[in-house]
């Protein structure tokens, strides 16, 4: 049994009075320690799938188990706690808080933890050093390049050591070289044991992943086979 199990997941939206089917009967299993790419064209439902995987978007039907926890049977607040404990997010366009420095952005998930300020500093510093930004901790996002911002976003995702990282188009706004650097960081983190799911439309990124799941019109058309490392 995988770390993440999706059973018969469907998602319907109402849009201007008409029903839009974003996902249809999605069955998926992701093992602990996998680095998976979810690919598909715009509007294929890949981002919807990521929000469902992120415990933020209850499916219309189906069940999702993460570490044997039936996530969508938890209350809204329990799901918030679950996200805090299990998931790290790298958002589309990175979504750094502009008025917080790099280290403060990384410390954000720790603000609601029981860690002391000193412990938080140490954890955030370690995360930033892990992504190679130990010397730019006090800079605001506006003072960092796109690639550096991406690394801060990754550091924020890993700072409280969640077992799963979900990334939505993490290289979408980066040039090829910087995008490769970011993907290499994901690969390194995966080699350290993290389970990582990356939504991307860039086929080049699949060079770094072990498996590619293709999604089209809300259906998984290819689950891919795990590549040998």
């Amino acid at each position: 049994m995988g770390l993440i199990e999706l059973y018969d997941i469907s998602k319907l939206y109402q849009s201007d009075g008409t029903e839009v089917r974003a996902l249809t009967d999605v069955e998926l299993s992701i093992d602990e320690g996998e680095l998976v790419a979810i690919m598909g064209p715009s509007g294929s439902g890949k981002s919807t799938l990521l929000t469902i995987l992120g415990a933020m978007n209850p499916p219309t039907t189906g069940q999702m188990l993460i570490d044997d926890i039936d996530v969508y049977r938890l209350s809204v607040e329990q799901r918030a706690d679950f996200r805090h404990e299990y998931l790290g997010f790298v958002f589309q366009q990175l979504q750094l808080i502009p008025y917080l420095t790099a280290i403060e952005n990384v410390m954000l998930p720790l603000a609601i933890s029981k860690h002391s300020n000193k412990e938080q500093q140490l954890m955030a510093t370690a995360a930033l050093e892990r992504v190679g930004l130990g010397d730019k901790m006090k800079r605001l996002p506006s003072q960092l390049s796109g690639g550096e911002q991406g690394r801060v976003a990754i550091a924020r995702a890993i700072v409280n050591h969640p077992p799963i990282i979900l990334a939505d188009e993490p290289t979408g706004s980066l040039d090829t070289h910087t995008g490769e650097e970011v993907m290499q960081i994901f690969k390194d983190l995966n080699e350290e044991g993290l389970t990582i799911l990356i939504v991307t439309h860039n086929p080049e990124n699949t060079r770094y992943t072990q498996r590619t799941i293709n999604i089209r019109d809300g259906r998984i058309v290819r689950k891919g086979a795990t590549k040998c490392a």
């Binding site: 939206y13 974003a22 981002s47 919807t48 990521l50 929000t51 992120g54 933020m56 978007n57 809204v76 607040e77 918030a80 706690d81 679950f82 996200r83 805090h84 404990e85 997010f89 958002f91 589309q92 979504q95 808080i97 502009p98 008025y99 917080l100 403060e104 410390m107 954000l108 998930p109 720790l110 603000a111 609601i112 300020n117 938080q120 924020r156 939505d168």
Partner: protein, 385 residues
């Protein structure tokens, strides 16, 4: 990092917006503080003026026979046996424990005299005290400049054909009518006023006084207390507090306070609306940010705390600033705008109330925006979909 740090950082970043938000509260609190300070000062000023401008205690001898009367004292011939007070009693009034509250003592000797063949009421007064206590007196002519000059009420002057400058003979003594009182609508219209010393001689009652009108400043002590103290030093006299004067004063002050309160409520509502709209707009602007908070595990209460702490910090600062501006305005403008004779005083309760009110406005007006923020769907907020 704590939630407080997030609030503080956001305040630092959005200085302009927070300044605007603070301005709304500062204006509201400053207006309320200024209105209350000035109203309280005006009340004190008004109380003093009302107390000074009219007698609020009357000391009478023990008799209540009424025929021809002035201030409750019978002056008809049938009541000549009424026991009279003395000038010593008048002097003793300024010896009571609350003597500092005695603004004026106006003794009077009242008698009936014959003028030009008609019966008239003669009131012996101490003119300086009388003019002090009766600021509303308006004279045609002049105020008496010596004991040989008198003034007459409008009705008695008309009845006897007296004009300023007329010579008036009372009991064989000739007086000059220095002035005629304009109509007061009171008993003063029917009386002739002469120096109390001369009146005592004319009526053959040396040192006698029929009644004493006392103006007491009742702001610092209850009128009942002064009345009791007067009773203690003049056990044979009847001491009456003029409740209508006190009631009238209370009513005037009460209307002033009501006006201030009504205006304050309007200003507070406007201030609250400014805070509400600003916070709501701030929450809308921060949708993505709140989405990040929620996605990374912030509970609804965490989001509410971030926003309410911001509101608390801003409203506390704005409350202090509003109090300073309000008090500054009262100190600078109060004496000029409101013609205050008394100073606006520091009131710790007003200070605490102003800051408390400011915090209340800030928190109450931010409650809905905070709740709304906490309910944001993180996936919608981040526009994943």
């Amino acid at each position: 990092m704590r939630l407080l740090d997030i609030s503080l950082n956001n305040l630092r970043r959005r200085k302009g917006r927070m300044l605007f938000l603070s301005l709304g509260i500062v204006l509201g609190v400053a207006t309320v503080v200024a209105l209350i300070s000035i109203t309280v000062a005006m009340r004190a000023d008004l109380e003093d003026k009302i107390d000074q401008f009219g007698a609020n205690i009357v000391v009478l001898p023990e008799s209540d026979e009424l025929a021809l009367s002035y201030g409750g004292v019978t002056v008809a011939s049938a009541a000549v046996d009424v026991k009279e007070l003395t000038m010593d009693d008048a002097a003793r009034i300024r010896t009571i424990p609350n003597k500092a509250n005695i603004a004026n003592v106006a003794p009077k000797l009242i008698g009936e005299v014959d003028v030009k063949g008609s019966s008239a009421m003669l009131v012996g007064v101490d003119f300086p005290s009388e003019f002090f206590v009766k600021k509303w007196w308006k004279l045609d002519g002049e105020a008496p400049s010596g004991p040989d000059e008198i003034i007459a009420g409008s009705a008695v002057a008309a009845a006897l054909g007296l004009r300023p400058g007329s010579q008036v003979v009372i009991k064989g003594n000739e007086f000059k009518l220095a002035g005629v009182l304009r109509q007061t609508g009171q008993q003063d219209d029917n009386a002739i006023f002469a120096d109390i010393g001369r009146t005592q001689k004319l009526l053959g009652k040396p040192n006698a006084v029929s009644l004493i009108e006392v103006s007491a400043l009742c702001r610092a002590c209850p009128i009942e207390e002064i009345t009791k103290q007067l009773s203690d030093i003049m056990p044979g006299a009847k001491i009456s507090a003029l409740r209508f004067a006190v009631k009238s004063r209370e009513e005037t002050v009460s209307q002033l306070m009501s006006f201030s309160i009504a205006l304050s409520i309007i200003v507070v509502i406007i201030g609250a609306l400014i805070v509400f709209i600003t916070m709501l707009s701030s929450v809308n602007e921060r949708t993505r940010e709140i989405g990040i908070f929620r996605a990374t595990g912030f509970r609804k209460l965490h989001v509410i705390r971030v926003i309410l702490v911001e509101a608390l910090i801003v409203s506390f600062g704005a409350g202090v600033m509003g109090w300073l501006v309000g008090m500054g305005g009262s100190w600078l403008l109060g004496p000029r705008v409101a013609n205050l004779d008394v100073n606006v005083e520091f009131n710790p309760w007003l200070t605490a109330g102003a800051i408390g009110l400011s915090i209340l406005i800030g928190l109450a007006s931010s409650a809905y925006p905070a709740m709304r923020a906490s309910k944001l769907d993180p996936s919608e907020a981040l526009r994943f979909i």
